[in-house]
Chain length 466, copies 2
């Protein structure tokens, strides 16, 4: 029975074939898993989501992950497809640029993009709950919590779980999607059952979350429309605003070595370290010592693997490409996976074998590119972001974007404010660097408003880099 | 009670401290595990070896690994340390060079090194059995078979195994060594309990073992003192001699694609493929069809990880650096791990924490280097080894080794016939390539016997590559 329904809620279109007898198991009810479940249901599939943890709508659980996230264009597009864009953005806080704090408390500022371009600080937990609720409202999505994936049969589409009583639950389905995060059990089952290229690479740095509460009169303690950075060379602290007028600070610091988490053992160690290096922040952090010793030290891993598809199963999000958080693209990239996979499903009209196959080819290089860029951005943020030379470079780049939007887009703009492929953004980013450095080398910064000068510089660069 | 005993069997010296109360658990009774167990026992430690499989001395088991291996200088040195050198070499077959077979059955030959330099074809099973027997003879080594490692507590030195009855066995020790191969359970426990960089990369090619039996009158069907190669560009077959006058052939061929194991489905497919591409070998392979369909298709993986040490445990051999087999160095490298770890134990006089820490630093870059070289050699063997240009290049390189042994060593010679660090051999190999290519470019091959010419070329190269 072919179905063609224009979904009034948004512009979602069901497939031309009836998929209501096709069952999908989604492993993981985090951000990617719950969004993908809704996508499947909207296409007419029967979806069961199995999440390892309890239902976060009823339980106060920390996922062991960062508290807030930067939602940008790719993620917004993905939410728009299920009608959640406005609900999420209403509660988000716009961050228009970076405010850098030097050791003396001096501030400098870089806008993220052109006028009107900004990223959005959203709560990971809040967003996840809204996605779960949307999934739960859909009669074709069934949520199961406290189910830990223990094995997968990729040929039959069977997934084995252990429930909260320790009993084994066997779930039959036509297809499986693994959206179960950086330490994915579905991926682990793929790895142990055949050839899969895989790597996990840890940064030497860990992270610790800390808090800046509102001021005595209930206001944000810092400008809420900025992402705050305290760049200190080998390490840094950042802060993102939350709707309750707190900031969540994150210290990125080496695990071991002379200046490291290992050497911050006593209260005195921590106080002295923060007083020396983050003196302007300390007065705003009344629970610094408790936060520091109560909160876990997280690690920062980049995971790459291939293939992402085996038999009846495909991976999405962190399960196939966990990235470090320094480009603010982990969630955005995972949501873009869902969009691309959904497009492939539409294109192949429910032939999920074909859809999975095309999806992984379309995404692989892009996932690698954003993983590389996120690591590059770590070094940029901690090492260079406070340099006068770097600020000058960023100013010229920013001016070029404003003056010649048709000729010049920054890499940051392409990654954050467009849906251009990450791999293309990475490539053009390297070309931009060459252009801006050459203009600075020539001392021709005053000529950049001249369109012909820029056209000439672009032609020379392209000739040189061809 | 300080002990200093000159071991009469060989030149092994016990430590200056009594280690007989220090217990070591060795996980894995393969080549590296059983050799390392003997090393520990000779130093005075109490050693328990736990092997997942049954005792190969009583059971005909295939390890799912290659049947014969090429033993060379590094491996011989390791065996010498426990007095096994002569026993092993007596049963080995010397291979002095490569014999290449073209599609018409034409032969060409490259010596591996200088006169008197050769590699040794040895039986993996035979060597493993001799190592297990040596271990078993030592009163300080206790062998336990059918014990599968299921978990490790790295702080306490406790290892959990499952025995053949499915019962859990908990083993306490002071230190643990994981010599349990490319899919190491000890490494897996390290990976899941904290930060460890890890990668596994598969070649697109699999391998299939086949046999060439002796001729009707009981002779080797091919020259036994060569490693035989049928290079065919995208794929190749090789053959190594065995003491029973058979050859073990290995076909390296893509898993999937137009010309691949996937497309060799019927007997007719296999016959036609071999008749077309290995026509001179086919008459020597009476069981080709049975072998092809009965024997498994193996995969080829490179495993890298770091650190190799966690708490009380260290990894050795394939468990920390599985390499593809194309340089014939997998076993030799694993045995060299044992030598280096043993040297570190002697240096640190039984302080195993210090010994483990130094061992991993000394070995890491070398393991990476041989992994890279083994992949390079795959492309060399299948693509180039039959080219006239390549043979000419190899001839010049060979002549330089013979003419100026003090000035020029080939990379192959350094890797195979010396104990020079793999990382140094890799670096010098790249420099050699530059030198030989330049001499060929100049057309100065006739001048290479002139020592001053070579000294001049070396100086120019070093200036250029500095």
């Amino acid at each position: 029975m072919p179905i063609e329904v224009f979904d009034s809620l948004n512009t979602f279109i069901k497939l031309h074939v009836d998929m209501s007898n096709t069952k999908i198991t989604v492993v993981g009810g985090g951000l990617a898993g719950s969004l993908m479940a809704v996508y499947f249901a909207k296409r007419g599939y029967e979806v069961n989501v199995y999440e390892r943890r309890p239902d976060m709508r009823n339980t106060d659980i920390s996922a062991g992950k960062s508290i807030n996230l930067a939602l940008s264009t790719r993620g917004i597009r993905a939410l728009e497809r299920v009608g959640l864009k406005d609900a999420i953005l209403t509660e988000a806080i716009a961050m228009h640029g970076r405010t850098m704090h030097d050791e003396n408390g001096g501030l400098s500022y870089q806008p993220y993009g052109k006028e009107g371009q900004y990223i959005n600080s959203v709560s990971r937990g809040g967003l996840n709950i809204q996605l779960l609720e949307l999934a739960d409202e859909n009669p074709d999505v069934h949520l199961h919590f406290n189910h830990k994936c223990i094995d997968v049969d990729f040929e039959s589409g069977t997934t084995m779980f252990e429930d909260e009583n320790g009993d084994q639950v066997t779930v039959e389905a036509d297809y499986i999607v693994g959206g179960d995060g950086a330490f994915s059990a579905v991926r682990m089952a793929m790895m142990t059952s055949g050839r899969m290229d895989f790597s996990q690479d840890y940064l030497d740095h860990g992270y610790k979350e800390l808090e800046i509460p509102p001021t005595a009169n209930g206001e944000f303690a810092l400008d809420p429309n900025s992402l705050h950075i305290w760049p200190r060379g080998e390490y840094m602290m950042i802060a993102l605003p939350n709707p309750d007028r707190t900031f969540t600070c994150t210290l990125f610091y080496p695990f071991t070595g002379e200046t490291s988490f290992d050497t911050l053992k006593s209260e005195a160690d921590v106080k002295s370290f923060f007083n020396t290096h983050f003196s302007d922040a300390v007065p705003m952090m009344p629970t610094l010592i408790e936060d520091f010793f109560n909160n876990p030290t997280g690690s920062l891993v980049t995971v790459r693997c291939y293939p992402w598809v085996k038999g009846k199963a495909a991976l999405i999000g962190d399960a196939c490409h966990a990235v470090v958080p320094f480009y603010g693209q982990g969630m955005n990239c995972a949501f873009e996976d869902c969009v691309v996979l959904d497009d492939c499903i539409e294109k192949h009209q429910g032939d999920l074998d074909a859809a999975f196959a095309e999806y992984q080819v379309l995404r692989k290089d892009n996932a690698n590119a954003i993983a590389d860029l996120a690591i590059q951005n770590f070094f940029e943020m901690r090492d260079h972001v406070g340099d006068a030379d770097f600020l000058h470079y960023k100013q010229i780049e920013h001016d070029l974007c404003e003056l010649h939007p048709d000729l010049f887009k920054s890499q940051y703009e392409m990654v954050t404010f467009t849906n251009v492929a990450y791999s293309e953004a990475k490539e053009l980013g390297a070309k931009n660097t060459a252009l801006v450095m050459e203009i600075i080398r020539q001392g021709n910064e005053d000529k950049i408003s001249d369109r012909n000068f820029i056209l000439d510089q672009l032609a020379k660069r392209d000739a040189m880099m061809a």
